[in-house]
């Protein structure tokens, strides 16, 4: 049976090796949900230190160091990262059980630097790890990932819509955005291609660099430990380009240069509200 771990805050997905994952999750606290062929499992990270390993294939379960060694032999594992608060982390640790714990995790756990604590005040502790994939921001329906603590509220809901909000699809949102004064074009993209768009400009060429930008943003996110991404705005002298998570993809919005940051932030927040209704 798979443990029903807390859902936490989805960060992103990635395909990489265990070594790479562990070396790039410094200051991260949360779960890495992994999938390899027909098996699945999770790694709990406590501020950059692997605290527990759990892996299951069918009815077989391996835990702790054995699970770690098993995962380490794969060159690529598919991983979804979920940031946890202290409470969620402890809940997950209890669910996987002592057999999955890596000995000495308490002693190894790093103290969160004071600077990072400054940004932890609203949501409790928890770093954010980087993902080298700007893939869907919504979590897939994995029995390991979805547990009783699912349905975390707040702005993060824009990235992970609760069931029943599918009426807020991108066409309706794009129609709203494109009529806002100063907006010249808007698109919804996912996994490297545009799903829908509005406006005069062709945005297809911007999807690839936008995804590259998102990769860099996730790197920054991993270092700042500052909660999920709300938006990125790239201000050019002749145009503003805004990328914001929406449902299982991202919105790409072009605005004229006279539109200021405050107006862009309001636009993004209004759209996010739509996504979380």
């Amino acid at each position: 049976m798979s443990p029903a771990i807390p859902k936490g805050t989805p960060i992103g997905q990635i395909e990489t090796s265990l070594d790479w994952l562990l070396s790039h999750t410094t200051r991260f606290q949360g779960a890495i949900v992994v999938r390899i062929s027909n098996g699945k499992g999770l790694i709990l990270i406590e501020y950059g230190r692997p605290a527990a390993f759990y892996y299951t294939v069918g009815t077989r379960v391996i835990r702790g160091e054995a699970a770690r060694q098993f995962l380490a032999q794969y060159e690529f594992i598919r991983a979804s990262l979920r940031q946890y608060t202290d409470r969620e982390f402890q809940e997950a640790m209890t669910l996987v059980g002592p057999g999955a714990w890596i000995t000495g995790r308490r002693e190894e756990a790093a103290e969160l630097p004071p600077f990072m604590k400054m940004f932890e005040k609203r949501q409790g502790a928890g770093g954010v790890s980087k993902s080298r994939s700007a893939g869907p921001v919504a979590g897939h329906q994995d029995p390991v990932e979805d547990g009783p603590a699912a349905g975390k509220s707040g702005r993060t809901g824009a990235a992970v819509p609760p069931l029943g909000v599918k009426e807020h699809t991108s066409p309706g949102v794009l129609d709203r955005i494109v009529y806002i004064p100063g907006v010249s074009a808007a698109a919804f993209f996912r996994e490297g291609s545009i799903v829908d768009s509005r406006g005069d400009d062709s945005l297809e060429d911007l999807v690839e660099p936008a995804e590259e930008v998102l990769l860099s943003v996730f790197e920054v996110l991993a270092l700042l430990s500052t909660g999920p991404l709300v938006q990125v705005t790239i201000r050019l002298f002749g145009r503003n380009v805004t990328i914001a998570p929406f449902n299982d993809g991202y919105l790409l919005v072009l605005t004229n240069p006279e539109v200021n940051l405050g107006q862009i932030r309001k636009l993004v927040h209004d759209v996010t509200e739509i996504g979380t209704v």
């Binding site: 410094t26 630097p113 004071p114 600077f115 990072m116 400054m118 940004f119 932890e120 005040k121 609203r122 949501q123 707040g154 702005r155 993060t156 060429d205 911007l206 660099p209 936008a210 590259e212 930008v213 990769l215 860099s216 943003v217 790197e219 920054v220 996110l221 270092l223 700042l224 500052t226 909660g227 999920p228 991404l229 709300v230 938006q231 990125v232 705005t233 790239i234 201000r235 050019l236 002298f237 002749g238 145009r239 380009v241 072009l254 200021n260 940051l261 405050g262 862009i264 932030r265 993004v268």
Partner: protein, 132 residues
């Protein structure tokens, strides 16, 4: 109002003196947690307000972000990059070119006065470089 300029003390004979923006000024703005001056090789020229964290990692990631954003600027052909504004749930990061080969990055809380930070960053950009 008088202004003072900090000068980097370069030991190299051929290296000209460089004006270092007064990052302490931006820290006085409510909600600002830290500021960096990043060279285009990823090194941190100066950091203020957040010396405990991984400045090097943040500067190289910020620099990569600048380059990736430059790709968008190239594609869209609407002028050069002016500023990058990252908003996370608990903080914002603003990156702007300070001069030809350096960038200022400012970290603040989302409820900080973004307009004031913006103004300060633009002001730093216009500062004259003193003669060596």
């Amino acid at each position: 109002m008088t202004e003072s300029l900090l000068l980097l003390q370069n030991s190299g004979m051929d290296t000209p003196a460089e004006a270092v923006p007064e990052l302490d000024d931006v820290l006085k703005i409510r909600g600002v947690g830290g500021a960096f001056l990043i060279r285009n090789d990823g090194s941190v020229v100066i950091a203020a307000g957040c010396l405990e964290q991984d400045n090097g990692g943040l500067s190289s990631s910020s620099l990569r972000l600048v380059f990736e954003s430059g790709m968008i600027a190239d594609r869209i052909r609407d002028g050069p990059l002016s500023q990058i504004f990252l908003e996370f749930e608990n903080s914002v990061l603003m990156i702007q070119e300070a001069d030809n080969d350096r960038f200022i990055a400012v970290i603040a809380s989302p409820d900080a006065n973004i307009g004031r930070i913006n103004y300060h960053m633009k002001r730093q950009r216009k500062r004259p470089v003193p003669a060596a």
